[in-house]
Amino acid sequence: MKKRRLLFLGCTIFLVALATLVLACPSMADKLQEAIAKTPQGEGPGMINPSAPPGFMGIPGAPRIFWLWTVLWGIWVGWIFSSVGAFGGIMAGVGHITVFGLADYGKTFKNTSPELNKLLTDSIRVCNQYLVGLSSLISSVTYYRMGRLVLPLGLFLAGGGILGAYLIPVLTAGKINLSMYVGYFGLVVFAVAFVLFYETTPKGQERKKAAKAAAQAFEAAHIKKTLADQDKLGEWARGVHVKHWGLTRVVFTFYGSEFSFNPLWPVLGGFAIAAISAFIGVGGGFLYVPFLTSVAGLPMFIVAGTSALAVLVSMITSIFTFMFVKSVPIDPVLVGTELVGIFIGSILGPITSKYIPEIWLKRLFVVLAVYVGVGYLTKGFLGYSVVPGM
């Protein structure tokens, strides 16, 4: 156990150091103050009035969001997390983009101060990322402690994640204006809507019922036998043992069965998931587990623990970058008050779930997701939303 922990710690430190060296850059004057200084002064749209009271991120004249609204929105997000799950991250993004008016504010600087426009875009997506990502980190560490780690899988996943977390900011930081970001966010919302919708269809429900029936049949027929079989396996066989490391194939045994995977899959998966998380500000940790169980067919028991390594590395990388580089500013009060709301929502969710069936919640979120997706897609790529309120 001690050797495993030291190995894990060593690999994590190496990956984080590598990522930090790649991602860090010389410190420079505060980007936000620079962007504000370059923005025309005045009271019209796209201008900054220096004597106006400070709002979002301390920018004079920026939207001043009353703390109660951020707490209430956080309650909504936390309620969704604890009722249904993934859709909460999307709603956190909707809050930053639409509900608090940050996107509309940022868009006013499109022509007058493109630098501030893009900085606000980056800030919104980092706020999304920190709101959801840090919480995912804590959750993942819990599962790491309980699960098992397949070290080569974790390293390849983390490596792909660092690549995605590096390339996407390099390619997009300061280059994506708010309209484009809103449009791409709408695409991701549509993808989530599709997944949620599928789960509510008879076919989606049937798959789950069939899996439950197969599992129950196995349990009924084999429970006594499997306990005896398990004991025969012995302690050694019940652990994870890597038999072969290779560039095209890694083989390990677990519970008497042999598993193998092509390292390219976790690298690509880690890259795609980290890229989406870095670009949009949602997703990330929770996507690793279904990716590895569905695509690679690996047991959830070891995937949950393994994916924690990737989440740990990518979040530590993000935090280190934030520590060493005054890169993208965030509004900590906004994030803090939203977290208070999420905390309250996490308590309300279990209470209301006794009265509202999950399938009806999912149907509600499908409708919301399609509405938001259509609104953002059209607003982002056409310049106006075809549905009201977006």
Partner: protein
């Protein structure tokens, strides 16, 4: 110019009490470290308290969500031991679905732990946004955020050892330890 003038009202009320810890010795660097350590510890303890409240309030739901994940996870392992691939795939899928619910439940709870840290950073932003500690022989520097995070991690590791000795947190730790023992199978790792 007094930076406290630009603080939101809530922080202006707390500022005299928070800044007091930054003026103990008179040596700037030492005071900054002492004050930030105190602030990080305060944020940590408040976070630990609020997450314990959230955990106690939602324990039945957490038990149900994680119990389902463990049940199907164990079943998938039993199917593996039996060599029944069909049952393994079915149980693994159900474990995956249950894991998702449990994971997001815990994500929501984690907010209860993190929120004080962001409020602490917001106050530090008003007071110490210009502070930079250049790293020797590099062009990089550490700002107030970096110092806070490092001291927060240190405070967390220290508090982890102190928790069993503190009355309320000792009780919570006992519940968590029993929770871990009852809901997760304890297996000796063969991966060493």
């Amino acid at each position: 110019m007094d930076d406290a003038m630009y603080m939101p009202f809530f922080y202006r009320l707390l500022d005299p009490y928070l800044i007091w810890f930054y003026r103990i010795t008179g040596a700037a660097l030492v005071d900054f470290l002492i004050g930030t350590l105190w602030l990080a510890s305060l944020a940590l303890v408040i976070g630990e308290f609020t997450i314990s409240l959230a955990f106690l309030a939602t324990k039945p739901r957490i038990d149900r969500a994680t119990g389902e994940a463990i049940k199907y996870q164990d079943l998938s392992l039993q199917a593996l031991a039996c060599g029944d691939q069909k049952a393994y795939a079915a149980a693994n899928k159900l474990a995956n679905d249950a894991f998702g619910k449990s994971f997001f439940m815990q994500v929501a709870l984690s907010a209860a732990f993190l929120w004080p840290a962001f409020f602490a950073l917001a106050w530090m932003q008003c007071r110490f946004s210009e502070i930079e500690f250049p790293l020797p022989y590099t062009v990089y520097s550490l700002g107030y955020t970096g110092v806070f995070i490092l001291l927060y991690v240190g405070a967390y590791l220290l508090f982890k050892r102190l928790k069993p000795k503190l009355p309320y947190f000792r009780r919570i730790q006992t519940i968590l330890n029993d929770y871990g023992r009852d809901t997760w199978r304890q297996e000796d790792s063969a991966l060493t």
